[in-house]
């Protein structure tokens, strides 16, 4: 099988590491060769963060480049726009509708673009936009919006729900498992 690429993008602190580990384990459990690439350190502090997940018969480079991503999962609208160049022609975007102003917008040095999702659709891209933050709060904590998005993505990939549930159990500490399963279910209901 040709290597497939997923990008998870968002703002440092939104939980992209957990999301990448969940997807990575889903794919490993399915018998794929998998590489997950994270960036730690300074960019965690509220900066734009990117995580790559690649899978196939044999994966070499852990990095996803422009025009290579089959799916982009975005935790924040502006980040979806920032990384749209990385999407393969015909690829999908799953994005939260959450907006977090970056510092240049807060200080007035730049403007947050309007109608991002419409503009992405205008490029002919299949965009699934969900209010992951509100759904996560319904599940019990704003922090679970990453797992809400996993629920959405699970409908866009051809694996049984049981495989995702198994990965959740592998990656989420026991005391938060029920809450995260609820968040995941709410995400799945959106598609």
């Amino acid at each position: 099988m040709e290597t497939k690429s997923i990008m998870i993008v968002g703002v440092g602190g939104q939980g992209s590491l957990l999301a990448s580990r969940i997807i990575g384990n889903v794919l490993l459990n399915q018998g794929f060769d998998v590489k997950v690439s994270e960036v730690h350190g300074m960019s965690q502090r509220g900066g734009s963060v990117v995580t790559y997940v690649k899978y196939g018969d044999k994966v070499y480079s852990p990095v996803v480049e422009k025009g290579e991503a089959d799916i982009i999962i975005s935790f924040e609208q502006l980040e979806a726009a920032r990384y749209v160049q990385y999407l393969k022609k015909g690829g999908h975007i799953v994005t939260s509708t959450q907006q977090i102003d970056p510092m240049p917008v807060i200080t007035g040095a730049a403007v947050y673009p309007e109608n991002i999702i419409d503009k992405l659709n205008g490029l002919g891209i299949d965009v699934t936009a969900v209010d992951a933050l509100t759904l996560a709060e319904q599940a019990g904590t704003a922090k679970a919006s990453n797992v809400v998005l996993m629920g959405v993505v699970s409908k866009k990939m051809d694996f049984d729900e049981a495989v995702w549930q198994q990965a959740l159990e592998q990656c989420v500490p026991a005391k938060f498992l029920e809450l995260n399963k609820k968040a995941f279910a709410l995400g799945r209901e959106q598609v």
């Binding site: 490993l28 730690h40 300074m42 509220g46 480079s61 990095v63 510092m103 673009p113 205008g122």
Partner: protein, 578 residues
């Protein structure tokens, strides 16, 4: 069973399986998780040292004692540890000694993108370079064997993409090893001139022997696809090349990057019409090839800057460029910022307001240099803030002393800041040094340090008392402030700047991300009272933004630190309980 592991976690697993006994490191992105992961194995003693030089000396001491030892650091950390490394190159080892150095091409989290391979060549030590997590584990185990076989410290060179990528790893059991009985050997380990002069020829012979070993060993491998084009590469670049070029070229993958073999390269090149060297940062492999009469193309195509990728290789060798969509609007950049509730924010706002010259250092607080605070004039390396301030003040005299400060974190101060403070006391400038004591090593992700009262495993440990330490160094004026109280903090900074003596201000408040820190409920902005004056935006808090010309506070980010309430003269920002 296969497990997904970060390169760094796999490295740690390799240390464990190889029977490594003593680990001493200083945190530094992208190397930190090796030591954090190995600390979870009870069979291995692991510690955070105050700096990389100490860590390497601890590891060498353990090796001399006869056990397998390890120290880990980032690329710039190896500069700090270069002194023991270069002489460990002469002494060699007893128990195997392995060093991890993590380079950061592209500077994801570093102040430069130096190439650590120079250190291996200059210190006449062996360096090997894995390209994925499985190799991180296997190479680490091999590194110990090679260290003992050739009597040499072995450096395992990591890079950000190898260290921070997860891939599948097969786990094995630990092999316990009996320590090699200690025997005094002054000729090998007392490096005074008379002994060192006898060690040097041994070192040269050893490096020759390793180069010969590299001609036929499992680390340097040829993949002959019967093609006209050959690629010589190492580490992560091998993975990029395989992805870009598949089986359209032949490969020589160098697992040993110092010292490099000669004949295997000549034989490989002789079978190809054209040979490319694909390596990030400097032209180490390329120069080696050319020195040995092998015609290769490298830096003229791939350049000296940042990371290489499959895209770059496809472009330069196959002439293929990617196709992609572009978003129509300008997308504002999202630089990293100090977190909501960060205790450094209040302090940096005061410095910004006072307009003083700020000699900065390495840590989260380097973000004080960014807009809107813009309160930093220089940042060089670990500990440089204090020594550079002294030099600045010696150059410009009394006027500068009253308008300049150094800022340095607690961990960085212990690393190499305190020697600079000794210099200020000893060589007398009336400098003002601010220690940003957030009770943790923040930027690398919360590691303990000698001031926190806990060790790497989280057990209670002796804590350095910063006030007493500064007094003992000879600084009489030592003040402690809480940076959440900006008016008081500003007043203390003004007082200390005015004094005709050196002083230290300890700005003390634990990192807002620490689990034990209890936060207040999120604040909110009363939309009736807010006039949109934007005063509160001057502190650069990511939780505060403007909507419909009024301020709003993001309740998912705000931790109720209250600094913004000091900025708002109208009392529009309130606690949610009010």
């Amino acid at each position: 069973m296969k497990t997904l592991m970060l390169g760094n976690e796999a490295f740690a697993r390799g240390l464990y399986e190889a029977g490594c006994k003593v680990v001493s490191s200083y945190p530094g992105t992208p190397s930190t998780e090796i030591t954090e992961a190995v600390a979870k194995y009870d069979e291995v003693y692991a510690e955070w040292a105050p700096n990389e030089k100490v860590a390497m000396e601890v590891a060498l001491g353990a090796s001399i004692a006869g056990v397998r030892s390890f120290c880990g650091m980032k690329h710039v950390g190896l500069n700090v540890a270069a002194d023991p490394l270069y002489t460990a190159g002469y002494t060699g080892v007893t128990g195997g000694m392995v060093i991890a150095v993590a380079d950061d091409p592209g500077m994801h989290s570093s102040q430069n993108e130096q190439d650590s391979r120079h250190h291996a060549a200059a210190s006449k030590t062996m360096m090997i370079e894995p390209s994925d997590s499985a190799e991180c584990k296997e190479y680490t185990k091999m590194a110990f064997e090679l260290s003992e076989k050739f009597d040499v410290p072995v450096i395992v060179r990591m890079s950000t993409r190898v260290a921070h990528s997860q891939s599948a790893v097969e786990l094995c059991d630990r092999e316990e090893r009996e320590p090699i009985p200690y025997k005094k050997d002054a000729g090998k380990y007392v490096m005074m001139p008379g002994n060192a002069i006898r060690r040097h020829p041994i070192v040269e012979d050893r490096m020759q022997a390793i180069a010969e070993y590299g001609e036929n060993c499992p680390l340097n491998t040829v993949e002959d696809n019967g093609c006209e084009i050959g690629v010589i590469t190492a580490g992560i670049c091998y993975q990029y090349a395989k992805e870009a070029l598949g089986d359209k070229v032949n490969y020589l993958k160098l697992g040993i990057v110092n010292p490099m073999p000669v004949q295997i390269i000549k034989d490989f090149a002789a079978k190809c019409k054209k040979v490319y060297v694909i390596e990030e940062l400097d032209d180490i492999i390329e120069t080696h090839c050319k020195k040995n009469g092998v015609d290769v193309k490298g830096k003229e195509l791939f350049g000296w800057l940042g990371e290489i990728s499959q895209t770059k290789i496809r472009d330069k060798i196959l002439g293929i460029q990617p196709e992609f969509n572009t978003f129509e609007d300008n997308v504002p950049v999202r630089p990293p910022v100090m977190c909501a509730g960060c205790p450094h924010r209040g302090l940096f706002y005061c410095l910004s307001k006072l307009g003083v010259t700020v000699s900065g250092d390495i840590g989260c607080y380097t973000l004080g240099a960014t807009a809107p605070l813009c309160a930093m004039d220089s940042t060089i390396c670990m500990g440089a803030s204090i020594s550079a301030l002294h030099g600045f003040n010696k150059a410009l005299g009394a006027e500068a002393e009253k308008k300049s400060v150094a800022v340095i974190g607690d961990s960085t101060f212990m690393h190499s800041g305190m020697t600079g403070l000794v210099n200020i006391a000893y060589n007398a400038t009336n400098s003002t040094v601010i220690i940003l004591d957030n009770s943790i090593t923040g930027m690398t992700g919360h590691q303990q340090n000698p001031t926190t009262g806990k060790n790497l495993k989280g057990d209670p440990a002796a804590a350095v008392n910063l006030e007493e330490l500064c007094h003992a160094i000879g600084i009489k004026s030592v003040r402690v402030v809480d940076p959440y109280h900006m008016a008081e903090t500003e007043a203390v900074i003004k007082e200390e700047l005015a004094k005709e003596e050196p002083s230290v201000i300890i700005s003390r408040r634990p990192c807002a991300l620490l689990k034990y820190v209890k936060h207040k409920p999120a604040l909110h902005c009363d939309q009736d009272k807010c006039v949109g004056c934007k005063q509160c935006l001057k502190i650069g808090c990511p939780a505060i933004s403007i909507h419909n010309k009024k301020m709003v506070i993001d309740h998912t980010q705000c931790v109720g630190c209250g600094i913004c309430t000091e900025m708002c003269k109208l009392g529009a920002i309130k606690g949610n309980e009010e």
